[in-house]
């Protein structure tokens, strides 16, 4: 064999192990350099008064203490929570409704067509969507206010008022991401065994009963999964906000990630930015563990 020159004295078992390590090496180098080491580094930096050109020094828990008193961070967290609650509820709720409707008696082609239409915005960059919607949201010339005007609603200052900017971002997010929830729910619905429905029909259950007594309970692992995935995504909202409102007006739409970005890369206060990012990391970690723990239980329950 030609390769035996390369690794001459290995038993087959060791050889297999060698090649195994060789195959995961590129991935593990990347993992070590771009994830593992940066986490350690970020933790270290979060305890520092960090200067990018001058001297950095350890300041203990000062950055973390600042988190508790920083009113702008509090605003950013509140904004992020408001965004998360509404975006996740609407995305999951509307996604579920669309999936249930698509799962009804529909011709195959029509179902596929609708599903493709609903899903397509998921593939478009947040940046482009925000660029399009910024025109749609214009107060005087925007398409949205024109149609609201036909319904007798006064022009809404979508992007220039503190009250409306967040709803504007949420609406755009739902437009973009509902299709993803729809897709996962549809797959979940289609994996519910037909025998359950047949049995219910034989027992004379009506559609509403079938929905609440069979569909929803059988779908609950999927619902929970979608809620967690969307929460993790929403907590990190950034692209759409920076293009649509840049956090404004004032701080009305500033999200935590936008705040971290500004602290780190505009004010270059990287120590504080790292400390804030740790808080976000902790929240995401808790959510993911929760998801993992509960889905394990569900899998067990299913069997």
């Amino acid at each position: 064999m030609p390769k035996s020159g390369l690794l001459p004295e290995l038993t087959p078992k060791r050889r297999e192990a060698m090649i195994g390590y060789l195959f995961i090496l590129p991935t593990y180098i990347g993992f070590a350099v771009f994830i593992l080491w940066p986490i350690i580094e970020a933790t270290r930096i979060s305890f520092m008064e960090f200067s990018i050109i001058g001297k950095s020094e350890y300041i203990g828990l000062e950055n973390y203490a600042k988190i508790l008193t920083d009113m702008r961070l509090r605003t950013s967290y509140l904004n992020t929570i408001v965004f998360t609650v509404f975006a996740v509820s609407f995305n999951a709720g509307i996604g579920l409704i669309l999936a249930v409707l698509l799962n009804r008696r529909l011709p195959f082609l029509i179902r596929n067509l609708y599903r493709s239409i609903f899903f397509f915005p998921v593939l478009i960059a947040h940046t482009y969507i925000a660029v399009i919607w910024r025109f749609l949201y214009q107060q005087d010339t925007g398409v949205i206010n024109y149609y609201l005007g036909l319904l007798g609603i006064d022009a809404i200052p979508w992007l220039s008022s503190a009250a409306w900017a967040m709803p504007a971002i949420i609406i755009m997010d739902v437009w973009k991401n509902t299709g993803f929830a729809m897709l996962v729910f549809l797959a979940g619905l289609q994996s519910i065994p037909a025998t359950y429905y047949e049995a219910a029909q034989l027992d004379g259950a009506n559609e509403r009963q079938i929905f609440f007594k069979i569909t929803i309970p059988m779908l609950s692992p999927t619902i929970f999964f979608i809620l967690v995935i969307f929460m993790i995504g929403a907590l990190q909202v950034f692209d759409s906000i920076i293009v649509l409102t840049a956090g404004g007006p004032g701080d009305a739409t500033r999200s935590v990630v936008l705040y971290i970005y500004e602290q780190a890369f505009q004010k270059f206060d990287m120590g504080y930015a790292s400390a804030v990012s740790m808080t976000l990391f902790a929240i995401i970690l808790i959510l993911t563990s929760l998801q993992f723990y509960i889905s394990q239980r569900w899998v067990y329950y299913d069997e």
Partner: protein, 295 residues
Amino acid sequence: MAIQIDIGKTKRQKISSHSKKPLKRGDILSYIILTIAAILVLMPLLWMFSTSLRPTSESFSLPPQWLPTQFRVENYLAPFESNVPFQSFFFNSLKITLAVTIGQLITCSTAGYAFARLRFPGRNFLFILLLASLMVPSQVTIIPIFLTMRSLGLIDNHLAVILPGLVSAFGVFLMRQFFKQMPEELFDAAKVDGAGYIRTFLQIALPLAGPALATLGIITFNAIWNSYFLPLIFLNSWDNMTLPQGIALLTGYMGSGNPSVVMAAVTMAILPVLLVFIIAQRWIIEALTRSGLKG
């Protein structure tokens, strides 16, 4: 095109096909709701497209016109002639996207194969550790990565955006699942024929992994083509920027850019995604459904 997500679906279709009842009120209602939703989804895209073909003077004409009334194809040339280097944005995005996609296909297929098919001490632990990295938000790692790139002199260099993208825990997971599902006999036969591990991988496993590679390639292509966070941090001269950055630039502060030209640029930026979607819908939808990864 039939998309069989699983068996449950075929069963359900069988029921619905032999119960050919007339349309009920509920059916009509659901058609109406679905159609309204589809129109709402399509309208912004339709507005984008029809605006991109209108003269600038009419880009804000109200009532809005949804179908293109004019065909100003020169709007599509305007971004290339504007004061920002649109052509460079396009090629930079293409270059970075291709480099990352090809890199990931290599690193993920070898690692996925090793985790699925080769036995070595610590295999499961290393795999779970890798999966755990999916939980780490990029905002945590970005500051140290930025400092590293800075000390390597890679700020405003495409490598700063390409290198962190070359590995993907999700991609390894996807490839591992695929290699695991391959029949055992295939590998036994290769062993009997005296094929080494590397040859078995290159000549037997990899050629059969086409669908998985295509899926991973498409998902990665789309994610990198659309990515904004990393380029925003690392690429700051106009000539090095990517398409999302460039279009944000073209739009100007608070939307002062020329809408027709901006919409033509956005249409061009979305076009590759649309094409890939039409061609590879089946794979994208199946993979995203199965993995639950947000696009």
